[in-house]
Symmetry: C2
């Protein structure tokens, strides 16, 4: 409202209507590319710069992933993907490209971290099955886990793809959702520190999660490979961002004050919500994977399974859907190797809905296993985690913990559909 020039339908912006309506250059509006490149650097702590000339737009991350797959692999060739992974990849990367996904098994014993052993093992199994591996796709921060990789893991991964001479696609669409220390590390930073063939490095980005604008369909392919950049840009004709939206986003993202506040406020709200949600679950006897990013928690319901099978997981899932009446996603849909894990989106509801959800879970736990539920005053298992917040924000946070209802239900991120 304070920036009517960001719209082409206001007195202040209408002089741009004609030019914008006619703009269909697949390079995108220069101001849009510059603003997106700047924003990508900003949400990575300003430790790395992105070149506006490498910003290629696409129809959301959905379109971006498909474009990268079309660019890097022929039908029948494959990408390694650590599990659990976003089920949409099975559609986005495979459906129209004919490309295959080969799971890399990650384990709860290791907090689902990606190890070089698991990568080597998946790679060699694929070789034995005569499947040509063209790349490795990592989602960092992870959907569904809500975790992200440390620098050493990323260095190992970059060494691995270099050694195999395969591509690395880093899906970093949750980069700005990291709400607790340590800071997020992007592959764009790590390639500055290690020897690697940059032609193998590609980033998929989007504003759907970090800005909470899934409807605007702003996806980005950022490749360090000139040939891929050029080819992806030609492909972007199939899913360009509306020039009206490019214009709005260009103005919005180039407003430093707004963006700094927005990202900080989003992180704070995510932190508070995450803290409250996980503490409450912990109090009623439900553990979850320690996490500090994203919009999800990875809930451990292994103890509730009648047996350690995916059939039992589906049975439990149906009970949660039909009887507890909560919309959670079973780990098997994320190709999780181990039954009993469920993804819960903690960010897409208002406080009132959250309280209903939590009370439903509590009643379910009480009803099903009185003995399993610890006393309500059990200490939250996450108290050791610290948020990197200014003092004033910390005070607000303390305030919140006393009175969770002050959390605004209006945060775009808290409302983001996933």
């Amino acid at each position: 409202m304070e920036h009517p020039e960001a719209s082409i339908c206001t007195a202040e912006g209408v002089s741009k209507f004609k030019e914008t309506a006619l703009f269909q250059d697949y390079h995108g509006i220069p101001e849009f590319r510059q603003a997106v490149a700047k924003f990508m650097g900003k949400v990575r702590g300003g430790r790395v710069k992105f070149d506006p000339d490498r910003i290629v737009m696409s129809g959301g991350a959905t379109g971006a992933h498909e474009m990268v797959a079309f660019c890097l692999a022929d039908p029948g060739e494959a990408f390694l993907v650590p599990t659990p992974y976003y089920p949409g990849f099975d559609r986005d990367l495979r459906w129209r490209t004919g490309v295959e996904l080969v799971p890399v098994v990650c384990d709860s014993a290791n907090d689902f971290k990606i190890t070089i052993d698991s990568l080597q093992s998946a790679y060699h199994k694929a070789q034995e099955a005569n499947i040509k591996i063209k790349g490795l796709l990592i989602t960092n921060p992870s959907n569904p886990l809500g975790t992200f990789m440390d620098k050493d893991t990323l260095k190992n991964i970059i060494n691995f793809v270099n050694e195999k001479n395969i591509h690395l696609i880093g899906d970093e669409i949750y980069a700005a959702t990291v709400f607790m220390e340590p800071e997020f590390v992007s592959i764009s930073e790590v390639i500055e520190e290690v020897e690697c063939n940059r032609d193998l490095i590609h980033i998929v980005y989007s504003l759907s999660k970090d800005m909470g604008f899934p409807g605007f369909r702003v996806g980005i392919v950022y490749s360090y490979n000139d040939t891929v950049t050029s080819c992806a840009r030609k492909m972007s004709s199939f899913g360009l961002v509306s020039s009206q939206t490019q214009h709005l986003i260009a103005t919005m993202l180039s407003n430093d004050e707004f963006i700094d506040n927005f990202v900080a406020e989003s992180r704070e709200r995510l932190f508070k919500r995450h803290e409250y949600f996980t503490c409450t679950l912990s109090q009623i006897g439900i553990c979850s994977l320690k996490s500090n990013a994203g919009l999800f928690i990875w809930m451990d319901l292994r103890k509730l399974l009648k047996e350690k099978t995916f059939e039992a997981e589906m049975d439990l899932w149906r009970v949660i859907i039909d009887e507890v009446k909560l919309n959670v996603s079973p780990g098997s849909s994320f190709h999780c190797h181990e039954p009993g894990w469920f993804r819960v989106c903690f960010a897409n509801m208002d406080d009132y809905s959250m309280e209903i959800a939590l009370s439903r879970i509590r009643n379910f736990m009480v009803k099903n296993n009185e003995t399993m539920v610890p006393p309500r005053n059990k200490l939250c298992r996450r108290t050791s985690l610290k948020l990197s917040l200014s003092r004033s924000l910390s005070r607000k946070m303390d305030n919140f913990i006393m009175s969770p209802s002050i959390m605004s239900p209006q945060s775009p991120l808290v409302q983001a559909r996933t």
Copy 2:
């Protein structure tokens, strides 16, 4: 400006910002689908109704064509396409789908009309070459010809696809550009009158030409086949229209008065520009195919070729580009069967640029072949054509013919990039 509620960035529209930014259902905003369906009926003279539930959105006509190709054909299978055709089809339909295009040869002797003989001949040649034909793609009105098909031709075409049991894709993205009688006939009308299997009928539409909004990336697949509609809708995830733009378009297209005026004004301006352009060309000895739609004329420069070859056409094209300094497209790029034809976009420049363009052509003709140039007062060969305009519009038109400079250079259509 009179409808601030059409924008989500105004005091009147900002209450829709959050809901719109979060909206990512691939069915599209219901009001958007309803408005597009209504508009599609309106530009077809209100003689046919479109079902909002069959409106599937895509990233422009570019994305729409690719989606239809993915839905209807496997790699290696083919569509028949009458020549000359829009060169973008070679990319849009083939690049990522692996589908092939088989040209149907149309002839200048017959004003490039599609005949059943030419369709049969192309179909049988493909069969002999072991190419499986899955459909026929027609562009109606035609880019590059600026012509459209009469009802009998369309009936014959529908009978042909029924007999062969292949699909018919009607690209009707220039439906509202018909600026002279007779009225445009859509395949959606003809299938009401002939026996046919509607599962074979699909329409590709867009607002890029008819509304002059190529930047907004509004493409539409309208299929009468439920399976195709459902599959295309899932595919539309790769190129959804920005919800911000859906909201604007929904409001704009549902405003009957605005749309009626806009379409009438566009047609009038196209008529005037076309009339002036073709008359002037005729006066300096350049003929063109008789046309009454679209943004192009199909210019006959066969007399200027040094020999009847495509090499000679390219030589002439280079002279026109490098020496005459006009951006025209050689017929060979449209797979035209006969050398010497060139596409000229008459609608994408202001009056001043048009006068420069025409004076360059005139000088070129004078310089190259004094004897070929008829006297300037030669009668325009198109005076027999009539525009279907109201009396007041006809008066304005007369006014224009006296004073071409009153043509507004602000018409979105006149400025549309193609």
